[in-house]
Assembly symmetry: C2
Homo-oligomer: 147 residues x 2
């Protein structure tokens, strides 16, 4: 194993399947997942590539573990905490612990980002009605979020 | 802290310094390091960006911890074990444990790559004369490596 995994076409890699974002659910849309690196000896993190089609969105969620993100395709928007971020290619985003977050494309092109995450991590939590009501007090967030 | 770190110009980010590749030494050349993410809560890895100028090279070394690499700028070549890899933008490379490796640009443009690595890791080992002699038995490797 020489460890070389070639890019085969734009944002696709040899023998790395394009997977469902999550096993199931209706709280996300138009988003795929590719697991680029799955930990290793002395390497306790994964590197994933997520791609969101125009009109799609990741799930609105939070968890204790942090996310470290780099945009590598297109532009996007993200809710992180109480702010809507405008993201350009190669921008970085850290999602702090227990911070509500959601990602959407910025326009009519696919939006893709790397996400580094610990192999051992807590499960995401989704917002209940009370949290959604609180988030929606901000008109910009109310417009942004998708459930 | 909203966690958004903007790209300021090509392969440079706001408030992320361009650092020396290593504290000192003559076994590398023309290479810089930017620490994009330095672990976090429930996140036991770093993400670094290394950039090698034309004519430059990373140090020839090995260690027990694995490296997970994605090229994001230009083309390069790498020794990984007993093979010389030709690397294009967005190619991935896994460097297995205790595997000799070195990175060089593929041409007259900068060569840049992300490297995910565990926050807690063993120190790199450099080759002694015996190892160098063994590596040089292969004419391709002999031509490639820089000490």
């Amino acid at each position: 194993m020489n460890g070389h995994i070639r890019r085969t076409e734009d944002f696709r890699w040899k023998d790395i399947p394009v997977s469902a974002y999550k096993p199931g659910g209706t709280h996300f849309a138009g988003i795929t997942r590719q697991l680029l690196f799955d930990g290793g000896e002395g390497l306790r993190c994964q590197l994933r590539y997520f791609e969101v089609a125009p009109g799609g969105y990741s799930s609105l969620e939070r968890h204790r573990h942090e996310h470290a993100i780099m945009v590598i395709r297109g532009q996007g928007r993200a809710l992180v905490g109480e702010r809507i971020l405008e993201l350009a290619t190669h921008d970085l985003v850290r999602v702090p612990p227990l911070t509500w977050h959601q990602f959407r494309p910025g326009g009519e092109q696919p939006f893709g980002f790397l996400c580094m995450v610990d192999c051992g991590r807590d499960r995401p939590e989704r917002p209940d009605a009370k949290v959604v009501a609180e988030l929606r007090r901000d008109p910009g967030i109310a417009e942004f979020i998708r459930l």
